[in-house]
Symmetry: C2
Subunit: 195 residues, 2 copies
């Protein structure tokens, strides 16, 4: 029996050039998040996926390790949320599934993680999570965020993961509006609406 044995997540072709033009101070929390939020807007403009982006920053030397954008429709994989993409590419770049081995790895995301990405954060070994838009902002724009434990922030903090929320929240929420205004698909699983 021959089944699929491989799947691939690949960043959009435009992203390398876009990133090359960024002049950012990756030691500055707001500048890091500003890059991530602008990347989420660029993902909408380029029509490569949902209005979400993320990045992994090494706080020991203020270095950008990886970026991610929502690639669910592009990759054909429901797990290809921006955070999963950024974490996986960081692990790929550093050659280790355990970012905790390096210390001080921070995950920036343009939106509070959904239930899946929340669960993925501790497994990745990052020591910090910084979020822009909130679950309420995403849900107000029509996105389903799933069921996280009510005390999700404390759960991460109890694992030694620092959590910052509402960093450039307004700017990130504005990207959701851009997405809706551009006719972007609110993809939710299930049968086709016309069924």
């Amino acid at each position: 029996m021959q089944l699929a044995d491989t799947c691939v997540i690949r960043l959009p072709a435009w992203l390398g050039e876009w990133l090359g033009k960024q002049e950012r101070d990756y030691g500055d929390e707001r500048d890091c998040m500003s890059m991530v939020v602008e990347l989420s807007a660029e993902n909408v403009r380029r029509q490569s996926g949902g209005p979400f982006a993320a990045a992994v920053i090494d706080s020991k030397n203020d270095r950008l390790i990886s970026v991610g954008v929502n690639l669910v429709s592009e990759s054909g994989l429901s797990m290809a949320h921006a955070e999963m993409v950024a974490l996986s590419l960081a692990q790929n770049a550093l050659g280790d599934w355990n970012l905790g081995r390096f210390g001080g790895m921070q995950l920036y995301t343009s939106c509070e993680p959904c239930a899946m990405c929340f669960g993925a954060v501790p497994w990745s070994g990052v020591t910090s999570l910084k979020c822009a838009a909130s679950k309420a902002d995403a849900e107000a724009a029509g996105f389903d965020e799933g069921e996280k434990p009510a005390d999700w922030k404390q759960a991460l903090q109890a694992r030694g993961i620092d959590v910052v929320t509402s960093l450039l929240r307004e700017e990130a929420t504005e990207v959701f509006r851009l997405y809706r205004a551009s006719g972007g698909l609110i993809y939710n699983p299930g049968p086709d609406p016309e069924d």
Copy 2:
């Protein structure tokens, strides 16, 4: 700036041949789970990862769509849990991130999903989740399962996803013992123990 832009999940080379030898009735719930639990044991014997396996079955025609095993250390990706691998390969095989479009897709897993995989289930579009070992069994073997909402089964059922637990639970838990007895690594993120 040149960052990693691609990551790949690939099933171990031994898996195709192993699967070719299976003579299973994929219309039979216990036979499906038996295959999955034996696959988790084979993943331990072949030393390709943790003692976890999963499969996606199309209940409309009793067809095996994909399998997954834990590939965290093999792939170098913390998200490469058996369920994530099986769901992604099913989506790859069917050419759609939304398995809900096909109807009747079932996810079998040798262990109740961790917090990340729980969150991934609704996004995938499967209509049924069947689990063998429990969170308590995995934790008793030393694995960290993360924080799911207390009412995680009801949360899935409220989304129309049927949940069956403890199907061949003893058999699956026995594989955890095999893993420990074989000296298998209990990988948890964080600094190296010797640090």
